[in-house]
């Protein structure tokens, strides 16, 4: 299939191999004798080079148009994806932060409650011990009261009828002493039950606190892990997008300058330029290098990926520096002064 630029190239080749009648008259000994490069030949060679340059730029135009369209799509996709990732990351962070805060508050409250419970149990154990000590004192008092009642009963018996009233009091004291002993045994029994059970409750409470602490540690590790995952996911996504962008830019940039056909045509142009120079040298004429500069305004890409047609005005000749390059910078080099 012939492309329009292919036809152009073909035409250029035909033109380059078919000298005009004027050229045929001017090329040869006559020209060498007059030692002057006929302007027609000079114009002709320059014209060929201009046409080659135009073909090069037309070829570039195709590459640029297609690649830029893809590049624009990639750029658009990357931009949207980046926005989406940023929004998702932000939303995830906000949700996780809120849930994490709620859970942390719950854990803190649970720990406080368990600690208060533990302290209360410890205090109850101490009180229970105090009750036990008090119980022993009360028991001692009850026994003394009973002994006192016994002595009173003996004294009342010794006095006979005169001590009968006193005997009633001693009986009551004896009865009271028995009741105190009975109540004290009940208190001691309850206190003992409390003392037996409280350490178990206290142990269970401490176990609960320990579990809460373990849970807190696990939750903290989990939180760090999730935060790290969110961060890595975001960064990794960003890195991947940057890679895609770099590839896209690289493709755009390299296709523009390294299209094989363009490179071949550049070689043709260089050969033609050399011929031009050789011809001047053979004629003993000074050769001033005129690099062909092509206006690339026509490479403007509109929204539909279309280019404006190039015109003959696209090609101009501009003086570029012709000094011999000693440390010429290569493509991609970055030089900061």
């Amino acid at each position: 299939m012939k492309t329009w630029w292919g036809k152009k190239e073909e035409r250029t080749r035909e033109e380059s191999t078919r000298p005009s009648s004027d050229d045929q008259n001017l090329i040869g000994q006559d020209c060498l004798e007059c030692a002057k490069l006929p302007p027609e030949i000079d114009r002709s060679i320059t014209s060929y080079r201009e046409q080659i340059k135009k073909i090069i730029h037309n070829a570039q135009k195709i590459s640029i148009r297609e690649v830029l369209a893809i590049g624009n799509s990639v750029n658009s996709i990357v931009t949207h994806t980046r926005t989406f990732i940023a929004a998702a990351k932000s939303s995830l962070e906000a949700t996780f932060s809120k849930q994490s805060e709620t859970l942390e508050n719950y854990i803190t409250d649970s720990r406080k409650t368990a600690e208060i419970q533990s302290e209360t149990v410890e205090r109850a154990l101490l009180l229970s011990n105090d009750i036990s000590v008090a119980g022993e004192a009360v028991d001692k008092l009850a026994r003394q009261a009973k002994l006192l009642a016994l002595n009173a009963t003996i004294e009342a018996a010794r006095l006979g009828s005169a001590g009968s009233a006193f005997g009633v009091i001693s009986d009551e004291m004896n009865h009271l002493s028995d009741e105190i002993s009975k109540a004290n045994r009940l208190i001691e029994s309850s206190s003992k039950a409390i003392r037996t059970n409280l350490p178990t409750i206290m142990q269970q409470t401490k176990g609960q606190i320990k579990k809460i602490e373990e849970f807190t540690t696990t939750m903290s590790a989990l939180k760090d892990s999730i935060e790290q995952s969110i961060s890595i996911t975001g960064n990794e996504g960003d890195n991947q997008l940057n890679t895609i962008l770099d590839l896209s830019y690289s493709a755009m940039s390299h296709l523009q300058f390294q299209d094989p056909m363009v490179q071949d045509l550049e070689k043709v142009n260089t050969v033609l330029q050399k011929c031009h120079k050789d011809l001047n040298t053979r004629l003993g004429l000074p050769f001033t290098e005129k690099s062909i500069w092509v206006n690339t305004d026509h490479l403007e890409i509109d929204k539909n990926g279309q280019n404006a047609d190039s015109t003959s005005d696209d090609v101009e000749r501009r003086d570029l520096d012709a000094e011999s390059p000693e440390t010429k910078q290569e493509a991609g080099d970055v030089l900061l002064f």
Binding site: G71, M252, I301, V334
Partner: protein, 122 residues
Amino acid sequence: MGKLVLVVDDSASVRQQVGMALGQAGFEILEAGDGKEGVSAVASNPNVAMVVADVNMPNMNGLEMVSEIKKNPANRALPIIMLTTEGQPALIKKAKEAGAVGWIVKPFNAGQLVATVKKLTA
């Protein structure tokens, strides 16, 4: 709001490529199609933080543009780097003398360009 970078190139596709690369990196982009437009853009936008310019352009080339911009004392600190297919030392020397601070040869690496612009606008 990112820093404003002026991209001066007669090729819209190059302006687009540079704009996309720097835009993704968070820079704001201002475009000019030749040296004259570049000079006007700098004059009318005092918040331009940096200029990335081609050398071979119609009306006014990149080197002339750098000289013109640097004539204004207010622009002495404005970093300007040349982004061009040219690599001749003599041209690079001229750019340096005109007041440019760097030279990148096309085709450029987007990452390197962004890193260079970030470094010069930091």
